[in-house]
């Protein structure tokens, strides 16, 4: 941790399930305000990596540092408190609560006073374009809004680093564009973002750097245009038989 603007670092992290190495010796680091895209075929270990970072899984080997602190074996709520927020691939709103109450619950992490938390939640809802829906029951809103809500909750925890797990999946192209705008806006406000994404348009447009995972290993990283030309990456996606 030499440079001060490195906010997040993973060192040789591995995780196996039974005999399968879901994540194998993965290392990378991220600068403040960076937007990193994490891509790879199904089962490459992207979500596992997120679960390792956020404490939902414990790595077999390796270390994870956030703001010069080893967070490797901390519990999920401690990691969130330190400033890493996440969304889930399958959205999990607090279904019987309203959209606003969902965000307020997240905002209470840094606002002990309910009134302050509510005020902040209303602001976050506005940023996320959820203002017209804050009184709706969260279980009943469309998927695109649930994804927005998940994002809003992660933001409302006061995260410095956001892990977005397929926020664009299942959205139509207008909705994806709206999301990308929000991601850019949030990044400009000083947040660091790591996003897992299958929608290539989404990652390629917004990420400054792309990491490619395949069979749990980091096979390539670099600028979007470099990565798409990388032979290993093409092989991972299209198979060995593919010839240029």
């Amino acid at each position: 941790m030499q440079k001060s603007n490195i906010i997040f670092q993973i060192r040789e992290v591995s995780k196996s399930f039974g005999g399968v190495k879901a994540v194998n010796q993965v290392s990378f680091q991220s600068q403040e305000k960076e937007i990193i895209g994490l891509i790879g075929p199904n089962g490459a270990g992207k979500t596992t990596l997120f679960n390792l970072i956020t404490g939902f899984l414990k790595p077999d080997e390796g270390h994870i540092y956030f703001q010069n602190r080893d967070i490797t074996n901390l519990k999920p709520h401690r990691i969130c408190k330190l400033g890493i927020g996440r969304t889930f691939q399958v959205v999990r709103p607090l279904s019987t609560l309203t959209v606003l109450e969902n965000i307020v619950t997240a905002a209470l992490l840094r606002h002990n006073n309910y009134k302050d938390a509510k005020e902040y939640a209303i602001y976050i809802a506005q940023v996320m374009g959820l203002t017209s829906k804050i009184n709706k029951i969260a279980g009943g809103i469309p998927v695109a809004d649930k994804k927005r809500l998940g994002f809003a909750q992660a933001l409302a925890t006061g995260a410095k680093l956001l892990l977005l797990d397929e926020v664009a999946a299942g959205l139509n192209s207008t909705e994806v564009d709206e999301f990308l705008n929000i991601i850019r806006k949030v990044s400009l406000e000083g947040l660091t973002i790591i996003m897992v994404e299958h929608v290539m348009k989404a990652v390629m447009n917004v990420a400054g750097r792309i990491l490619v995972l395949d069979h749990g290993e980091l096979i390539a990283q670099g600028k979007p245009e470099e990565v798409t030309k990388n032979e290993k990456v093409i092989k991972a996606y299209l198979g060995d038989q593919y010839k240029f």
Partner: protein, 305 residues
């Protein structure tokens, strides 16, 4: 109000509303369906009674000490038990309550299976009154305080976090909520109130026995009252108790001799009906009716903001 029989039913309704309200904090708001709450009820009764009879401490003070003890016990037990999920948690709570019940049944120092008779020394300091009327007002006061506590919790961070845990524990952790800690808080508050109810029961009936207080039956009734009325709502337990307890009493009085246990059959039927037809309880039905007649108004508010 002069008729002692009806006064007795009224006191029972209020006491069980108080107990259902205590269960509701952990079972309704926090979503941890405990079937062991009768243990805390019994512990409260035994602590105040033993302090009173063996050490001459007023049951009013004994009640506070019992509540404190129950709260601490809930936190100690909460650590292992609240990590369990679903049926495992329920089994743990049943096992815990049955263990405590059998412990008291066989414990000579507390007169085991003979139970304890509290001598009738009527004096407000002893929490013993000649008439039922003071008991009525005391339990009414307890209920109001208990409901006020629930109301305050539901608007506080503990309450909001409890609800988040009920809705989705994984998501709650991801939102930075120390789920084990907040479950323990809810459990401690709930258990303390249970113990206070236990002391009231002891002082009202003046006879305590492990089977009367700590039976699984009682734990089921606490849950039933909250669920029937509307779990996770402020007035649910009161409504539940007002409907269930008079019916329970009716079954006991009418069929108590030849068909003892019919009350349990009745309770079981209620659980089945509610579970399949109205999982949100009576409060759920009421709020649906309310929503139906105020849809237009809600929409206007929603659009404005």
């Amino acid at each position: 109000m002069k008729n002692p029989y009806f006064l007795d039913i009224a006191i029972t309704v209020l006491l069980y509303a108080f107990l259902g309200n205590a269960w509701n904090i952990v079972g309704g708001y926090c979503g941890q369906a405990s079937l062991g709450h009768a243990a805390y009820y019994g512990i409260g009764a035994y602590i105040s009674t033993i302090l009173f009879l063996k050490f001459g401490i007023s049951p009013w003070i004994g009640m506070i000490l019992g509540a404190a003890f129950a709260g601490v016990l809930a936190i100690i037990l909460g650590y292992p038990s609240l990590r369990m999920k679903g049926p495992y948690f329920v089994f743990f709570t049943i096992g815990f309550a049955e263990t405590i019940r059998i412990l008291f049944l066989t414990w000579k120092w507390v007169d085991g299976s003979r139970g304890i008779i509290i001598p009738f020394q009527n004096n407000p300091v002893n929490f013993i009154f000649f008439s039922k009327i003071p008991y009525y007002y005391i339990v009414l006061g307890f209920l109001i305080i208990g409901m006020f506590i629930t109301y305050s919790i539901s608007r506080s961070k503990i309450g909001k976090y409890s609800i988040a845990i009920r809705e989705d524990e994984t998501m709650a952790e991801a939102l930075g909520i120390d789920t084990a800690l907040y479950k323990s808080y809810a459990f401690a508050i709930s258990a303390s109130l249970m113990a206070i109810g236990g002391t009231f029961y002891a002082q009202y009936v003046l006879y305590i026995h492990p089977n009367d207080l700590m039976s699984l039956n009682n734990s089921v009734i606490f849950m039933l009252i909250a669920v029937a009325g509307g779990k996770g709502t402020l007035f649910g337990p009161l409504i539940g108790s007002a409907i269930i307890m008079p019916l329970w009493e009716y079954f006991r009085a009418t069929f108590g001799g030849r068909f003892a246990g019919l009350g349990i059959v009745f309770a079981g039927s209620i659980i089945l009906i509610i579970g399949t037809a109205v999982p949100q309880g009576i409060m759920g039905i009421l709020s649906k009716i309310h929503a139906k007649y105020s849809i237009s108004k809600d929409n206007i508010v929603g659009e404005e903001k």
